[in-house]
Amino acid sequence: MIEDTHLIELKGVSRTFGTTQALKDINLYIRKREFVTLLGPSGCGKTTMLRIIGGFEYADEGQVLFEGKDIANVPPYKRRINTVFQKYALFTHLNVYDNIAFGLTLKKMPKDEIARRVGRMLRLVKMEGYEKRGVDSLSGGQQQRIAIARALVNEPEVLLLDEPLGALDLKLRREMQLELKSMQQQLGITFIYVTHDQEEALTMSDTVVVMNHGCIQQIGDPKRIYDEPKNAFVADFIGESNIISGVMIRDELCEMFGQEFPCVDEGFAPNEPVDIVVRPEDVMVVGEDVGQLTGEVASVIFKGVHYEMMIRTEAFAWKVHSTTMQPVGTRVGLTIVPFNIHIMHKAGGQ
């Protein structure tokens, strides 16, 4: 269970490289036993944030607290934090056993104790029998498991994972996602996970932190992030979206393409320009005469579970997911129920 103590806390953390500001005034806390994912496109600052927590990078401004204490001056080798690096960073001059035992050997732990712990780790990552193998001879997925074992054997408070599944193929990645999640629950360790893959973030995390341009865009649990994106960036980054520039006429009524649509959002200024977000699966295809909008099917792609269609109305090309196919050229009507219209402040005006 996630405990309600703040294990790690970032307060007003900023970091600038040359002229680019990688992190801008980040405030975030991470609770004990939480699985937190930092999600964002490349260059959004997520890796920098992870490296600051790991101690490989420092903050220009702000504080990083670990159990309430500032750890700015604690070098990485004295932090109770371990890292699984992007390309694993395994030591190719050592075999599997010695790679995993590396941290324990440094602590001058008795040999039999090391052997016991390494053995337990190998079981945990399902790599028993590979002790004497060179790490170069392992497949990507196996190297990945060794990298995780090498970090976890030190029994850290926090495990940092920097896009650890990036180099694996899709099927293996899905498997490892589930395994990582169950390992985390089994061991009760806090995981901080960096990825640019939104599906991965939604599958594994207790909390997702969406980042862009060095700023946190939204923090929340996966369902909330998906269902209630706070702005157009989050909506676009998490899943696919139709994003339309519109106006909020008054509470529960918005306007797009000069046409009024009832919605459920409130609390905007009268006639405030807003971004209106509609998920493709929320656009319903109906008969031409009964839709709120009418358009023509421009393209159809079969995606396995559903069809993805582009439906061109007078002013906008809608991306629509539907289980029934309409041939290209068909005139159709489109309807969106008020609950599925998400209104967001224009970017920049949070």
Partner: protein, 256 residues
Amino acid sequence: MRKTLRGVYLGLILFFLYSPIAVMIVLSFNASRSRAKWGGFTFDWYVRLTQRSDILQALWVTLTVAVIATVLATIIGTGAAIGIQAMKKRPASLILKVSYLPMTMPDIVTGVSLMLMFVFVNVPLGYWTMVMAHITFDTPYVLFSVLPKLRQTDSNLYEAALDLGCTPMQAVRKVILPEIMPGVITGALLSFTMSLDDFIISYFTSYTDKNLSMVIYSAARKGIEPSIYALSTIMFLVVLALLIVINKRGALENVS
């Protein structure tokens, strides 16, 4: 047909490259002092070599200078590579540019410039000035053998070591060094070969102590004595052996 023609061409090139060497080796076993007549097989010139105290002395100088220079160049150069890898782009590229200088400058300019400096600061030209000069031209070879190896290794390796509890010193000793060892050894072998082989820079930076190349040079100017052929044959075989070792390590490809 095409292959035969090409083979013949390569054969001719090899003939051009090796006939002088072959002649030299044959003459080192020639009992006759004449270069044009075969007077029977003999080891006399090799025996005579052992009686030439100037050559034995030069051999000693050559070997010890090469060993000392190689050890120091390897330490300094490997450290340099590790440091440069961790530096920001600008200072790193500045150091690399300066490192190219001794490699691109003609040996004669390097030799003359070092000589000028040693004389100007009143260091007598001898054994130790030669050692310093050798370290100077050896170190970049170590640097440029180690650097590619370092670049091949995972960029997070050092951090992974810190992460698992190494101090920076331990991280270099226990992780970085073992990972780049092949490059370090290649660099050491290269600089040893360069040192053994050097003539011009040694010639300008040492006056009292002569290495083998310097002895060969003065011998060649005086007139050829077959014991020099014997010496050349031995040196050729040593370099050949060293190169076979280096090549086994795939170093020729790394360097080129």
